[in-house]
Symmetry: C2
Subunit: 349 residues, 2 copies
DNA sequence: CGACCTATTGATCGGACTCAAGGTTGGTGG
DNA sequence: CCACCAACCTTGAGTCCGATCAATAGGTCG
């Protein structure tokens, strides 16, 4: 695995290089943007880490020049910067950067970010794979997709800040969405303004396909939970993928059938189970979805949990208090830790 | 439209012939089973009406001999009989008869039955059409299916008496089911034994496809509501239809997406709406589904309505009493009549 | 006609929603 | 760095909807 680091500060460059070589990567360096672009085009590394603040050609320029060349446009790109300004962050993400590391960074953060991005080249293809196979065990066969071709050609990047809408109920779908980084939830609202969360999505997942597939206006709204970078795939590309590849179509049929059954299960749950049971289920659902990202604990707002369980915020809080008392969970500030996963998972009453 | 009547009683034959000719059909007659089969094979009528009790070759034999010849096996077949015994009824239905008229019959019943069956030759194809187009306005293009071929070749007939299970939760799906006549409901059960009805199906509809498509055990149970004649289509045939016909696959994707969205809507409903609203919605749902069959009123058991609305039987009854008081519905015995459809449909509280 | 099932009404009880009032936390700007 | 504000979390009190239990009436089937 070849990694290219573009960084004008010699100390930082050496340090980072050493760190990554210790971890077992082959690393090359470039001392400024121009050289960086040149090396990138010549050696086609598997990953590029690039500083933003550099004389002459800055990080944004580097990313831009690499993105217009098909050969380099798909190489994972991580920004490295002292700036922690949200505006800059968004600018980089909109250009198509894959991650953003703020100096000074922890070694572990760098390594983790690198590994995550490396394991994700051809992410879209892999994501679509697990997408249509319903996230199931069996591997869906999309290997005969030409490896040199991207799954989707015309995609745009867009960044949404927390609580920004990605799309609104009753709007017309134009895109299939793919989350490069961040978190999105979809929800429906009833006449009284009460919300029910219908979907939780994270990094490397697609969303917004139901309304697209049923060829109708959006039946729910989608909102970014955290700062989220999204790839917008024109619906025509999505449709042509489904229409031209039988295995994708079949995968969708299977996945959608599964979803129908899951929703029916939730209906049964919502119809007859107590709030306690529903909150327990909601916690587990959230836990299963995001536990990798928040090993430290669940960062879920009480209101969101209420809107997953289909109850009121106060009821959720009271239930959580009970769970604490019974030793099922513990909490520290807004963060929830699951202490007794097994019992919570089999919660009955 | 040619109709063949096979009936050994000359009076009945003449009477029926006259009746149908008056309605505008071309009618030929046969005075016994043997002749009936002969005429049927020669003239290939569009519909056959046949008495059961006949000397020499009885109605069952006629049906049997016609069903083993591919040329005549798909002709709609109506039994005419003085017997009203349920055993006989089921015997006829199992052999593949399409309807069953008991003598003495009302003229209107005969005409209605004939028209219904005639409008339904190639029923399966038409049913699959509206099935995959999600019952929507647009016609789905399945015209290039060879007209001389049945959609499915190997199908079996089976008759289920009221409250008999068609399939059981956790069983393994082998068939796609198609209702020739009757009514089926599917439901899930929770740990406390409470039921939630997940699907209502009637004549000319398919059911049991979710578990088939997601390739897993049944996630719900199916039960016959009334005496129901079902066609069992082996899953292999169903799969080959999906795999070989792109338009069918696409239709399924669209239909399933629609179902997901509908289930989500129900979730929102169940989560936040009052029992009254849910009962109103349940009534409307039932009404929309079966109003053609029961112009006279809805024959729904209170318990079923409760299991659609996700509430208890008593609550349903109390709500119905209120609706009666407010003039939204009226009732006569177990039958419910909808008096103010509009208000019921827009029920808010 | 008796057994059984379904529909209906009454009475009671409790879970969960609502409203209301602090308490915490985190972010922002002076 | 601290003060302030807004957003979120938490707890309390009161209320009501809807589930449950129980009893009766009406219908149906053998």
């Amino acid at each position: 695995m070849n990694i290219l680091i573009i960084e004008d500060n010699k100390d930082v460059l050496d340090n980072t290089t050493e760190l990554l070589e210790l971890t077992g990567y082959k690393v090359s360096g470039a001392i400024n943007g121009k050289e960086g672009v040149k090396v990138a085009k010549e050696t086609l590394p598997d990953l590029i880490i690039c500083d933003i603040m550099m004389p002459e050609m800055d990080g944004y320029d580097v990313l831009y020049y690499l993105s217009i060349d098909p050969k380099t446009s798909t190489i994972p790109f991580i920004f490295l910067t002292a700036k922690s300004d949200a505006t800059d962050f968004r600018k980089g993400m909109e250009l198509g950067a894959d991650d953003y590391l703020t100096k000074p960074f922890e070694e572990i953060d760098l390594i983790k970010s690198v590994e995550r991005r490396l394991s994700k080249s051809n992410r879209l293809k892999k994501a679509m794979n697990s997408f249509v196979s319903g996230g199931a065990e069996e591997e869906f066969d999309m290997e005969n997709v030409d490896e040199n071709h991207e799954l989707f050609k015309n995609k745009k990047n867009k960044v949404f800040r927390p609580k920004n809408f990605v799309y609104l109920q009753y709007g017309s779908p134009i895109y299939l969405y793919y989350i490069k980084k961040g978190q999105v939830k979809t929800f429906k609202t009833n006449e009284d303004g009460k919300e029910l969360i219908t979907g939780l999505y994270k990094e490397n997942e697609f969303f917004g396909y139901h309304s697209l597939l049923k060829d109708d206006e959006y039946s729910d709204s989608a909102i970014a939970v955290v700062e989220t970078q999204v790839e917008l795939i024109p619906k025509e590309e999505f449709f042509s993928l489904i229409k031209n590849r039988r295995e994708v179509a079949n995968g969708f049929i299977k996945m959608l059938s599964k979803e129908v059954v899951e929703k029916e299960e939730e209906l049964l749950n919502l119809a007859y189970n107590s709030v306690k049971k529903r909150v327990a289920d909601g916690l587990i659902k959230y836990f299963d979805k995001y536990s990798q990202d928040y090993i430290k604990g669940l960062q879920i707002p009480r209101e969101d949990l209420a809107n997953i369980a289909g109850t009121s915020t106060e009821s959720v809080i009271r239930t959580l208090s009970e769970f604490k008392r019974d030793g099922l969970i513990s909490a520290e500030g807004k963060t929830i830790y699951i202490s007794n996963e097994k019992e919570l998972r089999n919660y009955k009453y």
